[in-house]
């Protein structure tokens, strides 16, 4: 989902039917696939793209929240936000490492992010205008991420599943600190409550878009489901998220910005209003309000860090030479 239903993925394979059948048998038997195992090219390509998009999302996701670290309203909030943003950096690194086991290099992935060839979650192309946005992101964006990541812990590719288990252990604090911020604002002065409601109004729709296009419009889902890379469809996950989140908003006296949102007794879940998919595709394709800034900031961080990487490598080389000379 951080990979948004695999934008542009092509899972087509050219292997023999016998090979594909034997591979599918392993998948159906719930066997995990490990990096050195034989696998269809499409399986490898799909995973490289999905794990890469997921990793990029964690890294770019540090930017909107990083924007508020120096302006957090208390030391408690600042410490929590710092720790959360550091966790997201860690998530990116676990995921890059998982993707690298499939034969893509970190440098290639970084290059694809910076050139705009690789995508990341559209949610991070929205701006964080007020402190309440930090609450809304933790509650909604991390909440949606959790919905998606829990089934990924059972993904058929071992390194991805293991990375997701680590990530899921850490995510719960992210969502709780966000909800606590919203709860405090919603229970504060009328202005503070207004700020919380405004953040919810702006983040709700982008959050439910995070699950990607409707199942009927999601081209590559079937193959990913068959390979057990994916366990639930976009719409199933979106529904779970909405059903879990609506009562949380009610509990703190905030209103979901969807006039069509109604409880459907028969299906035991909420029905929601139409999603603006034009906006979704605009943002995915890099026309979100912050898209240019995000890539510019990542490039700048990479370029500004170049001398550190070079110095570290030169220093390592010097130490190695010295050690050899002493032997």
């Amino acid at each position: 989902m951080y990979s948004q239903g695999l934008i542009g993925a092509d899972g087509s394979t050219g292997e023999t039917p016998e090979f594909l059948e034997a591979f599918q048998k392993r998948i159906d038997a719930e066997e995990k696939i490990e990096p050195n195992d034989a696998m269809p090219e499409g399986y490898r390509r799909t995973l490289i793209r999905q794990i890469g998009q997921h990793a990029h999302s964690e890294i770019v996701g540090m930017l909107p929240e990083g924007n508020w670290i120096t302006r957090a309203p208390s030391l408690r909030r600042k410490a929590a936000l710092l720790a959360k943003v550091q966790d997201e950096g860690g998530h990116g690194l676990y995921l890059y490492a998982a993707a690298e086991t499939l034969g893509v290099s970190r440098e290639e992935m970084t290059e694809e992010l910076h050139s705009g060839k690789a995508k990341y979650s559209s949610i991070f192309n929205y701006p964080t205008l007020t402190w309440a946005d930090i609450g809304a992101i933790g509650w909604l964006v991390d909440g949606a991420a959790i919905m998606n990541q829990i089934p990924l812990c059972r993904c058929s590719f071992g390194p991805y599943a293991r990375a997701m288990i680590r990530v899921c252990k850490e995510e719960s604090f992210h969502q709780r600190q966000g909800y606590e911020i919203m709860m405090e604002l919603a229970g504060g002065t009328p202005e503070q409550k207004e700020m919380a409601q405004d953040a919810l109004n702006r983040w709700w729709w982008p959050s439910i878009m995070m699950f990607g296009p409707h199942d009927a419009d999601s081209q590559h889902s079937d193959q990913s489901m068959a390979w057990k890379i994916k366990r639930f469809s976009n719409d199933e996950l979106r529904q779970k998220f909405i059903d879990a989140t609506v009562p949380q908003a009610e509990f703190i006296g905030l209103k979901m910005p969807d006039p069509d949102l109604t409880w459907n007794e028969e299906k035991g879940g909420y029905d929601h209003g139409p999603i603006d998919w034009d906006e979704f595709w605009r943002v995915v394709k890099g026309h979100g309000p912050m898209a240019r800034d995000r890539i510019r900031d990542r490039r700048k961080a990479w370029e500004d860090g170049a001398w550190v990487r070079e110095a570290a490598l030169a220093h390592a080389e010097k130490r190695r030479a010295r050690k050899i000379a002493a032997e």
Partner: protein, 93 residues
């Protein structure tokens, strides 16, 4: 690429009495920085009290295609205790 940071595999001992267990990998220029990076990335919540880092290129792995030949015990059921019939009167053995 000439300027690629070497890749290290990271192993962590959760606490004394347990063995080090592989938990992921990290890029770093040398072993000192690899240890520091491993600590930052993999032990933010008291996950361990000891870290090993090993250059990934230093690991020799068995061939997954040979897994059957290497690791299938096959018919050697006499390696399992239940293969042997001991009268119940003897008690636990």
């Amino acid at each position: 690429m000439a300027n690629e940071m070497p890749l290290w595999e990271v192993f962590i001992r959760p606490r004394n009495g347990l063995s080090h267990k592989h938990c992921g990998s990290i890029h770093a220029a040398d072993e000192v920085m690899a240890l520091q990076a491993a600590r930052d990335v993999y032990t933010r919540r008291g996950e361990g009290n000891s870290i090993w880092v090993v250059l990934s290129s230093a690991i020799t792995a068995s061939d997954p295609d040979q897994a059957g030949e290497n690791f299938e015990p096959g018919e050697k059921i006499y390696r399992h205790p239940t293969f042997y019939e001991i009268p119940e009167e003897v008690g636990n053995m």
